[in-house]
């Protein structure tokens, strides 16, 4: 028998109470795990942005177009390693109502600029670059629709019309790309700019935005200023910012999601502290006599203190770990839903949430146990034993 045995026997004395308290703790950590992951997923776009990638959009608003000619001009700016361009296509499969993202890009350069973010097998990449109608499908998107290499798929745009009168573009799956990190978004597709621009009816030689790598992140500001100055006072003024900034300002428009989530989780934990703390205090109060007896047997005050604190820590750990595991299961389940895939493609329970949770488990155990443990330590044997 060890201290741990004693502690676990004590915890299990009142089975009902143990179940109720563990359940409450599980709920709190479940909330933490799921909401924390959602919060992370919202911010993931920001976190995963590369240091050396800049985004150039129309100064009026990112929904306004830029001339294709700007791309070459930007490539000539000092400090620009390479530049590519993209057009928002807005995609859905003809007949289905599920919308996802589609981009018409420059096949020669797009993958290079995003080399640290996307990975494609080299033969697939070549095939795609050589096929005008070729399309690269993100891994998650491929999973959702069950698309495989070689499939001919009709992709519709909810914005643009094809010259042939429809809004369908026939594409051939030439490759499937994966994200470099688990949280990377792979719920979209990439196809050829030329195929798009020459068949759509909105005008010609325009792009949605331009993305570039700088030769060194320290040159970012300099390059951004140079680009914006070049096009100042022209018909299409530009605004260049780092990818991180761009994603951040987009997210900020959603409102303070992070604040809401943090408040809810904090409220849940506060309530939990009250519930479990009270339970612990009560449980120890009920055991006054036994604690006194332990002391008569020769258990020192410090030893008794440790025993009680271990009990509250064990309880916190029990509920906390179970709650986290449940959160993991739930997050995996939720992330499969199509609406979620669109909005939060990077929904996953990351290791930093686990680590935070462990810290909170310890804090919970300490706070709920410290007062009862102190009381037990200070317990006067004579008083405790004389109470009949």
């Amino acid at each position: 028998m060890s201290d741990l045995y004693l502690v676990s026997k004590n915890i299990a004395r009142n089975k009902l109470r143990l179940v109720l308290n563990t359940f409450a703790i599980i709920i709190a950590f479940l909330l933490f795990g799921v909401l924390g992951s959602i919060n992370n997923a919202f911010n993931a776009g920001i976190e995963l942005s590369a240091d050396d990638r800049l985004v150039v959009v129309n100064k009026i608003n990112f929904t306004q177009p830029l001339p294709l000619s700007y791309v070459e001009k930007i490539r000539a700016v000092e400090g620009v390693k390479q530049a590519t361009h993209a057009n928002w296509f807005g995609a859905y499969v003809e007949g289905s109502k599920i919308f996802f993202a589609g981009f018409a890009v420059d096949p020669a350069t797009y993958l290079d600029v995003y080399a640290d973010y996307l990975t494609v097998e080299s033969t697939q990449r070549q095939n795609w670059q050589q096929n005008r109608q070729g399309v690269l499908i993100g891994e998650k998107l491929a999973q959702t629709f069950g698309w495989k290499m070689g499939d001919r798929i009709p992709i519709s745009s909810n914005i643009f019309s094809n010259m042939d009168g429809s809004h369908v573009w026939d594409m051939v799956v030439e490759g499937i790309f994966t994200g470099a990190e688990s949280q990377a978004d792979t719920n979209y597709l990439l196809f050829h700019y030329k195929y798009f621009i020459e068949t759509q009816t909105f005008g010609s030689d325009w792009v949605g935005w331009i993305v570039l790598n700088t030769t060194d992140p320290s040159l970012n500001d300099q390059v951004a200023n140079a680009i914006d100055e070049q096009f100042a006072n022209s018909f299409h003024e530009t605004e260049t910012s780092s990818e991180k900034q761009f994603n951040k300002s987009f997210l900020e428009q959603l409102g303070s999601i992070g604040l809401i989530i943090t408040s809810v989780v904090a409220a849940a934990f506060f309530t939990l502290l009250l519930i479990v703390g009270n339970s612990m205090a009560l449980a120890i109060r009920e055991r006054t006599r036994e604690i006194a007896v332990l002391k008569t047997l020769g258990f020192s005050a410090k030893h008794v203190f440790r025993l009680v604190l271990s009990e509250s820590l064990l309880l916190a750990a029990l509920g906390g770990i179970l709650g986290l595991l449940l959160a993991q299961v739930l997050v995996q389940g939720i992330s499969q839903a199509p609406q979620i895939k669109n909005m939060l493609p990077n929904l996953v329970l990351t290791s930093d949430i686990f680590i935070q949770a462990v810290v909170y488990i310890v804090v919970l155990g300490l706070i709920t146990g410290i007062v009862p443990a102190y009381r037990a330590m200070q317990l006067n044997i004579v008083d405790a034993l004389s109470r009949r």
């Binding site: 028998m1 008569t296 258990f299 020192s300």
Partner: protein
């Protein structure tokens, strides 16, 4: 055969505050106890019998005076030192047994051994020895709620002796038992005293139980009257 004083109580003064009153239990009490003594302390309620027992066990401290155990003053020890002293030298037996309800009989007996540096097999040996001494090996795995009052008290005795302490402090050990069981328990205590040379100090209301002791002390108004019994 010289029998040295195991316990020497010198000029013990014990008082406590109750509301606005200061109540003095002992005033200049002195007492010598030898190793191998079996003492029954009797007296009216409130005379301080339990307080005396508690002081002997290091659970309570006198307001003034010294308690010498083998020559060293235990009133000077810190809480931690006293805990260790108790673990090494003292075993307690209570009227209501005070076993841990969620532990089996053998785990209850094992408890004091956790404070010593022993291996698992060593602990098991001591526990078995203690349980067989009180005749409860076959009940080792039972929980207190599955045992009768007498059996629980025997487990308590096993727990009290498992570390082989010199002293056993008993507070009304037969108070909650019927006559037959009480006799059983007292015979056990007597054996522990006569065969194993344990020094036993017992507080009791029960004259039948007191008969098993070697020496009877009557405590009243803070003073002792010695009533010797034939050994």
């Amino acid at each position: 055969m010289s029998e040295s004083a195991l316990f020497e109580l010198r000029n013990i003064h014990k008082e406590f505050i109750k509301g606005k009153e200061k109540i003095t239990i002992f005033d200049d009490l002195s007492l010598n106890l030898k190793k191998g003594d079996f003492i029954a302390i009797m007296g009216p309620s409130g005379s301080g019998k339990t307080t005396l027992l508690n002081m002997l066990g290091g659970v309570d401290k006198p307001s003034r005076g010294q308690i010498l155990f083998n020559g060293s003053d235990i009133t000077k020890l810190s809480e931690g030192q006293l805990a260790k002293w108790r673990a090494d030298h003292v075993g307690f037996i209570f009227q209501f047994y005070n076993l841990m309800p969620m532990l089996s009989a053998e785990r209850n007996v094992e408890l004091p051994l956790l404070l010593k540096n022993l291996s698992r097999s060593q602990r098991k040996k001591h526990v078995n020895a203690a349980l067989s001494l009180v005749g409860l090996q076959d009940r080792a795995g039972h929980q207190p709620k599955e045992l009768s009052g007498g059996q629980q008290q025997r487990v308590a005795i096993a727990r009290a002796i498992v570390t082989d302490p010199e002293i056993l402090l008993c507070d009304e050990p037969t108070g909650d038992l019927d006559r037959n069981t009480a006799t059983q328990i007292m015979e056990m205590l007597q054996t522990l005293n006569r065969e194993f040379n344990k020094t036993i100090i017992m507080v009791t209301h029960d004259p039948e139980a007191a008969k098993y002791s070697r020496r009877q002390l009557h405590l009243d108004k803070g003073q002792f009257t010695d009533l010797e019994t034939a050994a």
